[in-house]
């Protein structure tokens, strides 16, 4: 399921523009890291990564990141089966893929 582009609600906030952009630019790296951790079955580190995305996403104006990361963190905490875990991780990655920042910063 492909997402509509996700934009920060603070995209035009002069205090925020620059750091929103920095945050978005670093997301592909975080996405790669999430998948690597899942493949290596390093669930503790995956939970920390999900926790951090949950805490930061909404603050940068990307509420969908916080929502999907919260579901992944919760799943890890509850210890769901591998296929459900993969789905939660996939959902978060798709959101990260959909994040878009305007070019004219």
């Amino acid at each position: 399921m492909a997402h509509e582009p996700i934009r920060s609600i603070f995209e035009n906030d002069p205090d925020m523009m620059e750091i929103v952009r920095d945050f978005a630019v670093a997301l592909p790296e975080r996405r790669r890291s999430l998948q690597a951790l899942l493949e290596a079955n390093n669930l503790d580190a995956l939970q920390v990564a999900a926790h951090q995305l949950k805490g930061a996403g909404g603050g940068y104006g990307f509420q969908p990141i916080t929502d999907t990361a919260a579901r992944l963190e919760q799943a890890l905490r509850e210890g769901v089966d591998a296929s459900a875990l993969k789905d939660h991780c996939q959902a978060l990655c798709e959101v990260l893929d959909a994040v878009t920042v305007s070019e004219n910063v």
């Binding site: 205090d15 750091i19 920095d22 949950k54 805490g55 996403g57």
Partner: protein, 315 residues
């Protein structure tokens, strides 16, 4: 102890996520706040202890030393005990909020935080701290004279004695007691006795250096702490105070009366190895009583336990 106006206000962020550092900085800097940050609990404690920020935003969920442990450590360390802490919590669980508040945190903010809420909570935390500082300041003032009180003198003496011994810089102490104050009270009444005490406080404050600490030590007894002063300079300050009071005329019920004081002086330079506030005050007290015995309105020095009058022309 003197409340310093220090600008700008400095906020320490302790959080294991760098995006959170950048975010808080972006949100608080426009408020005129200076923000610096550390990525783990241990570095955070170290930074808090050396830089003494005005407020700390502390993440609860951190690997190794978590927020609660950091908080406990900061609250158990005298230097950092009074720095207000606001917890940043990722979970909305009541349990962790209550635990944080019970540990001495002033407030909490749930991540992801709303910027308006973050700013408001930080402002409120800083305001509470400021009020605490004012209250603490007031609790160290003598209500009648506006000088520092005995509690402050004790606390300050301890600090000054430490500095004196660490840097080998002598500290002078002068005890000043109003002569025949009881007669004055009996003759003119307590209200006018109070007016005289207030007048003496003003004269003492005016004749002391700005780095000196002038305190009301008891009823009609005052003390002056004189940092970086050897016995001679301490005696000089003490004698200047004594003479200023002697030459001052206090207006009581439209007529002018003269008041004198007796003074006892010691200096830490003369008492190596016995540097407690109690000891020094006792030594000064012995010199003071020698001044009383010698007929009042004079100054005596306690030099290594030997009491002698301040010779004319010595200061």
């Amino acid at each position: 102890m003197n409340p310093e106006i220090r600008t700008p206000t400095r906020i320490l962020v302790i959080d294991d996520s760098e995006p959170i550092h950048a975010l808080i900085k972006a949100r608080l800097q426009p408020e005129g706040l200076e923000v610096f940050s550390e990525l783990d609990g241990e570095a955070g404690i170290e930074r808090a202890t050396t830089d003494l920020p005005d407020l700390i935003l502390l993440d609860v969920d951190m690997p190794e030393l978590d927020g609660f442990e950091v908080c406990r450590h900061l609250k158990n360390t005298p230097a950092t005990r009074d720095i207000p802490i606001i917890f940043l919590t990722g979970t909305a669980s009541t349990d962790s909020k209550v635990r944080g508040l019970d540990m001495g945190a002033i407030d909490y903010v749930t991540k992801p935080f709303d910027q308006v809420e973050l700013r408001a909570r930080v402002r409120a935390g800083l305001r509470t701290k400021q009020l605490q500082d004012i209250l603490e300041h007031q609790s160290f003032l003598d209500a009648l004279t506006g000088l520092w009180n005995r509690a402050y003198l004790d606390r300050r003496m301890e600090g000054e004695i430490n500095i004196a011994s660490r840097y080998d810089r002598p500290l002078g102490i002068a005890l000043v007691d109003v002569d025949r104050f009881k007669n004055l009270n009996d003759t003119y009444g307590h209200l006018l006795g109070d007016v005289v005490l207030q007048g003496i406080a003003r004269v003492m404050q005016d004749s002391a250096r700005s780095s000196d600490t002038v305190a009301r030590y008891g009823g009609e007894e005052f003390a002056i702490l004189i940092p970086q002063a050897d016995l001679d300079s301490t005696a000089q300050v003490a004698e200047r105070v004594r003479q200023s009071i002697e030459s001052h005329s206090f207006e009581v019920r439209g007529s002018n009366i003269g008041v004198t004081v007796s003074v006892g002086v010691v200096c830490t330079a003369e008492f190596v190895g016995e540097l407690s506030p109690e000891n020094l005050l006792n030594h000064a007290d012995r010199a003071l009583y020698a001044s009383k015995d010698a007929g009042r309105n004079c100054t005596h020095l306690n030099v290594r336990g030997k009491i002698r009058p301040l010779e004319p022309g010595e200061s």
